[in-house]
Amino acid sequence: MGGGSARSRGEHVTGSWSARLHVVTGKGGTGKTSVAAALALALARGGNRTLLVEVEGRQGIAQLFGLDPLPYEERRIATVPGGGEVRALAVDAEAALLEYLDMFYKLGAAGRALRKVGAIDFATTIAPGLRDVLLTGKAKEATTRSVNGRRAYHAVVLDAPPTGRIGRFLNVTAETARLAKMGPIKTQSDGVAALLRSPMTAVHVVTLLEEMPVQETLDAIVELDQLGIPVGKVIVNNARPPLLADGKPTQAELRRGLAAAGLPADRATVAGLHAEAKAYLARRELEDSLRAELAELDRPAIELPQLPGGVTREGLDVLADTLLR
């Protein structure tokens, strides 16, 4: 699929986000899709065009932006002040295979008949790794595509499978080495593998300050390192501002404070606030130790604030601001 344009390399890059293909992974439930969307919005600022890609058929992007399910087509989903825009693409492995076959073998109607017998379904699910080759191949094609000698996209952000599957998903050469030793699939996967192991790619891992996501983050980074795939940033999502830095409140102090602020200082309220503060401190202690574990990785890290209003477009813009800071 399309070749890269050497001329486009000199284009403006945004701060520390110098890669062109940003792969966003993380344990399920950490907010990968929101972070990927915020990054696409951030990188579109200053009049750029970015592409946000999803590959798992979840239609997470459409839900996030309140749109109808996305077709297999690059479609504008957001504009950014300054003339930038985000396009989105929901890659479907079957459609990608048909597109691929059509491009190389002019399969047309026969391809659709194949779908009826389940041949396409078969090829994209049973053939080892073929599905992932097709999905990552599409991301590569968009990343390196040029139109009139210019890059089609300033950056491509891939909302990737979760940490548990990310190594297998990105390790396309190993998968296809088992499948095909020569031929177009081999060439294709070699091309994808080269891009994924180059500085043009960065894999960002999203986590929460909770035990399982942090553990999976550590495991995924070891795995990606071993595969030679460049790890970008560790992104802590939903971080809360630190409170009670000066220590534990006593009930007496809470009572004084409530009274000073003109609020009822009855026993139940005071005891309730006290219990909440204690639970908060216990939670923060755990969060701090998890934060320390992440710091030992010695990787660039970003903390994204918890969004009080939930993940709205305004909320995504707040995350985008933080990502660029």
Partner: protein, 375 residues
């Protein structure tokens, strides 16, 4: 608001034999399954087995599953003296389970041929439906042995919760479908049948496949299909059998969700699907809910008071405590709103809320307190 979910009633009912915990990834299915199984053994004296999929390391250790194990092992150090229950735990090893299915249905020489085939290696470990199929297969095996009072199943962390119901049928369809037969012997199906368009395009497909991935792969695939031929029919039949068990009265589905939009949306899809498929949904477990203790104080009043204290410089600690309370109250309200998206659509589905724990659960004590919260 929906009725309360009575997990104890399910656990105590001797006619209840299978509990399936399902829901989106990362919502606490594995922990819920383990907690339910522990309670069934400790409180209700049932001989219970829990089938988990990849538990957190320390949870696995607390269940005595420190190494991958495809056969049930008794969990020691639990309190069943009064009730006489037992808890056994096992972790699904999908490749081993697949190997066992092959061994059980073909002669040893054929089995070795199948194991040596690279296609089998790929399919038994990476095919997206294999884990779901094998979880169902394992459930079918456990049920057939009739050794347990209660089987609790955790479901695989699928892309979508529905994969758990769909993947086994899909895999079975591949394994005994028309597609593989065509691939195995395109010549046999000839050009005369009603499938002429299909077979004609299949010829093209074969040629394309040959061109794209090479004859080496095709011959391996043919070998694989030929070796599996003796097992055709079995896969689908078994998937259908397990499917029927899931529809039976002895089964209860526990839908697990966290109060987040994605998880709630998945839960709603799944509830609808269970209804359509006439599968018995016992209720929804709303995990990781938050609730303020100082219930009488509104978020707005707390924030205003915190700001007043900031301005006067009095008691910064109380100001912080009020901010903590405000955030907790707002979070709780947000969670209630998100959860209501499910309960409004499924008002008859009983629900139970489990409060967020300060730390992840990774020992028997932690599981016990989740069990308390569920009951």
């Amino acid at each position: 608001m929906s009725a309360d979910l009575d997990v104890d009633a399910i656990l105590a009912d001797p006619d209840s034999r299978i509990i399936v915990c399902c829901g989106a990834g990362g919502v606490g299915k594995t922990t819920t399954a383990a907690a339910v199984a522990l309670r069934a053994a400790e409180r209700h004296g049932r001989r219970t087995v829990v089938l988990t999929i990849d538990p957190a390391k320390r949870l696995a250790q607390s269940l005595g599953l420190s190494e991958l194990d495809n056969t049930p092992r008794q969990v020691k150090g639990i309190d069943t003296e009064a009730t006489g229950g037992e808890l056994h735990a096992m972790m699904l090893d999908m490749k081993r389970t697949f190997d066992d299915v092959v061994l059980a249905h073909t002669d040893p020489q054929r089995a070795q041929e199948i194991f040596a085939n690279p296609f089998y290696a790929a399919m038994s470990s990476t095919f997206s439906g294999t884990q779901e199929y094998m979880a169902m297969e394992k459930l079918g095996q456990l049920r057939a042995r009739d050794e347990w009072d209660l089987i609790v199943v955790d479901t695989p962390p699928s892309r979508s919760a529905l994969d758990f119901l769909d993947a086994p049928a899909r895999l079975a369809r591949f394994l005994d479908g028309k597609m593989l037969r065509l691939l195995l012997a395109p010549a046999k199906t000839g050009g005369k049948s009603v499938f002429s368009l299909v077979t004609a395009s299949f010829g093209i497909f074969s040629r394309v496949v040959q061109k794209v991935i090479g004859t080496q792969l095709l011959s391996e695939l043919s070998g694989f299909v030929a070796a599996l031929d003796s097992m055709f029919g079995g896969f689908r039949q078994r998937a259908e059998q397990t499917y029927r068990i899931l529809q039976a009265k002895e089964t209860s589905f526990l839908l697990v969700a966290a109060p987040e939009p994605d998880a709630i949306r998945e839960a709603a899809y799944f509830a609808q699907r269970l209804r359509d498929d006439r599968m018995p949904l016992a209720g929804l477990v709303l995990n990781r809910m938050h609730s303020p203790v100082a219930a009488g104080l509104s978020a707005a009043d707390s924030r205003a008071a915190a700001e007043a204290l900031d301005a006067s410089g009095e008691s910064p600690i109380a100001a912080d405590a009020l901010r903590i309370h405000a955030a907790l109250t707002e979070q709780s309200a947000r969670e209630q709103r998100v959860a209501a998206r499910f309960t409004d659509s499924f008002p008859t589905v009983p629900t139970v809320a489990v409060m967020a724990q300060p730390a992840d659960v990774h020992d028997v004590d932690g599981l016990r307190s989740i069990g308390e919260a569920l009951a």
